[in-house]
């Protein structure tokens, strides 16, 4: 992946065409996403910004195959995902995408090591290799010494590092982060952003949702969203 990105730097990883997500709440129809179109290329670092309730998370969940669009087309790596089976969607999430969430989303009764190991188990990686890769991932986020700690025994910044380790352990090429620094103080947030920059320099595609203009400014490109519309692409 990292090698080929040089030659195919114009390859379109994410293509959305007129995608809508419609919620029915009581009698009201709410378009959380309304004919949103955008394209993200391989190796790009893109931030998505917009006011609260504008549809950022909705967009991200569709891109990450956690949710399905009601209208429009979505191509991931050139493939229309509409016809994917539940099993195939799970496999793509597992192999191609690394998620980082605002509230970390770690499994609280498992220690850091087991949390990071989980996606590799779903990939059926043999135990010995799992152990090696989990160690590498924890090293990379600077948490090698905390492998035995449960999430409740870690600070917010450390928990987010565990989550990032879990995202990178499968070596995906696309990282989706929904306000990864939202629950952290600015210094810790900077440290987490540093990790994303490293991942970007290694040739990965990064899509990052944020409220913070300072964080958004660190991306190569910003996509603005309001009321479910993609209003501006810089």
């Amino acid at each position: 992946m990292e090698q080929s990105s040089k030659y195919e730097s114009c390859r379109e990883v994410i293509v959305l065409k007129d995608v809508s997500r419609i919620y029915q709440v009581g009698d009201e129809t709410l378009r959380a996403l309304d004919h949103a179109s955008l394209t993200i290329r391989e190796g790009e670092f893109v931030s998505i910004i917009g006011p609260s309730g504008s549809g950022k998370s909705t967009l991200m969940n569709i891109i990450g195959l956690l949710d399905m669009a009601d209208e429009g087309e979505y191509y991931l790596d050139g493939l229309e995902i509409r016809n994917y089976s539940e099993h195939q969607l799970a496999k793509v999430r597992n192999q191609k995408i690394g998620f980082v969430f605002q509230n970390f989303n770690l499994i609280s009764r498992m220690d850091a090591r087991s949390n990071v190991e989980l996606p590799l188990i779903y990939q059926r990686v043999p135990a010995a290799e799992r152990k090696k890769r989990v160690q590498e991932a924890l090293d990379r986020v600077g948490l090698a010494g905390r492998a035995d700690h449960k999430p409740s025994e870690l600070s917010g910044g450390q928990q987010q590092r565990v989550a990032i380790a879990r995202a990178i352990v499968t070596r995906p090429s696309l990282f989706l982060a929904d306000e990864p620094t939202g629950n952290l103080d600015s210094k810790t947030g900077e440290e987490i952003m540093e990790l994303f920059h490293e991942l970007h320099h290694a040739g990965n595609t990064i899509v990052l949702i944020t409220h913070d203009p300072g964080v958004a400014a660190q991306a190569e490109r910003r996509i603005h969203i309001s009321d479910g519309h993609v209003t501006e692409v810089e």
Binding site: G64, D67, R93, N94, F99, N105, L118, R124
Partner: protein, 395 residues
């Protein structure tokens, strides 16, 4: 993957010990009652049928209650042999007499019979010989005794020692010529010790207070067909005893055994059914807890799906968890039953109590079935959650 699921299930059970144990309690109690009740019934059945077969299930025992003042003689009785399906016939004239050796004396059942007794009553000898035809002719004073007579009355450890020794029976001396082996009925439900002495019929009927009439005898079947031998014997006795069917009684141990077995089987079924219901209730407990667990872990399910678990994997995880709870519960239940039966065996000596392996297998199968059946609904509920809905869930 399967191994990983087992590991995860184990961790989830362990991380919530108290709740897991309470969930298992239903299964533990169900398995315990099933295993203990069925084991008790089957132990009782086993020892009773051993006792009954020890009494001679391969022969018919005939009692004549009313001889119409025309007693049956040995010669008449021997004419029964070979008729219809009757094989051999042996008189069972019996008296309880004091049997004395040295200073020790005990009341024993003394049978006056013929050499046929050995075949009809299925006697195996530990040593020596059985009665012979010549003993019958010569009214010899010889005796074949049971092992308990040798060990308890004659106080000898080795049965061979008893051969040739003299017993005093009712003031008369008898030479021990043979020792009968114990039937392999290990229990002693009906008799504490088996004091049996067999002497020639002709010798016994010469002793004081014993008449020559035959009121009791045993019949064997020609081809092992006891019920048709029973019919032939019945017909012969009807003719002999003025067509009075109340004048005699034929005991067929086979039909006693059949009746006994069917009563015991019904008992097992009823008790097993009651225990089965408590197992079923235990299963509903599992379902209840698994449903709570699914709701509680909605977020976890969402996380797992986000990082690559598909429906099958989630389903597998929850099913294995339900199966494990029921199987661990079953294991504990079987363990407690085993201990309880051992303890019961120490205090309750009437018959040996053992764990019935059949019911253990049955309860394992039943517990697995319950784990599966009551696990499927919660597991499916967990598996079909949409990733985003599960992730968004705030319990």
């Amino acid at each position: 993957m399967f191994l990983q699921s087992v590991k995860m299930a184990w961790e989830s059970i362990r991380s919530n010990k108290m709740r897991s144990i309470l969930t298992m309690l239903g299964i533990i109690i169900g398995v315990f009652s099933l295993v203990v009740l069925v084991s008790l019934v089957s132990s009782a059945t086993h020892s009773i049928s051993n006792e009954v077969s020890g009494l001679g299930s391969s022969s018919l025992q005939v009692q004549i209650m009313d001889d119409k003042d025309n007693p049956l003689s040995l010669e008449e009785l021997l004419e029964f042999e070979g008729q219809g399906d009757i094989g051999l016939v042996a008189p069972l004239t019996t008296r309880t007499m004091g049997v004395k050796y040295g200073s020790k004396s005990e009341n024993s059942a003394v049978y006056g019979s013929t050499p046929e007794y050995q075949k009809v009553q299925d006697v195996t000898l530990s040593c020596g010989r059985f009665l012979k035809e010549s003993d019958q002719y010569n009214h010899t004073s010889v005796a074949v005794v049971s092992k308990d007579v040798v060990t308890s009355i004659m106080k000898m450890q080795n049965v061979e020692e008893a051969l040739g020794k003299e017993l005093h029976i009712n003031g008369q001396n008898f030479t021990v010529v043979g020792v009968m082996a114990k039937k392999d009925s290990t229990s002693s439900l009906f008799s504490q010790a088996d004091y049996t002495v067999v002497v020639p019929y002709t010798t016994l009927t010469r002793m004081s207070g014993v008449s020559r009439e035959i009121l009791s005898f045993a019949v064997s079947a020609k081809d092992g067909d006891l019920s048709s031998a029973q019919k032939t014997t019945g017909d012969l006795l009807m003719k002999r005893l003025e067509q009075d069917k109340k004048a005699f009684y034929i005991l067929n141990f086979n039909s006693v055994m059949d009746a006994l077995n069917s009563v015991m089987a019904t008992m097992s079924l009823v008790l097993g059914g009651v225990a089965g219901i408590s197992l079923l209730v235990g299963g509903i407990g599992i379902m209840n807890i698994m449903l709570v667990s699914v709701t509680e872990r909605t977020k976890e399910i969402g996380i797992r799906k986000a990082i690559g678990a598909d429906r099958r994997v989630i389903m597998q995880q929850f099913l294995i968890e339900a199966l494990m709870i029921s199987l661990i519960g079953c294991g504990i239940g079987v363990g407690i039953s085993w201990g309880a039966l051992r303890v019961a065996g120490i205090f309750f000596k009437t018959f040996p109590i053992r764990l019935s392996p059949g019911v253990v297998v049955l309860s394992i199968a039943f517990s697995m079935g319950i784990g599966l059946i009551f696990g499927i609904y919660p597991a499916n509920k967990a598996a079909k959650k949409k990733p985003i809905d599960a992730l968004r869930y705030n319990g």
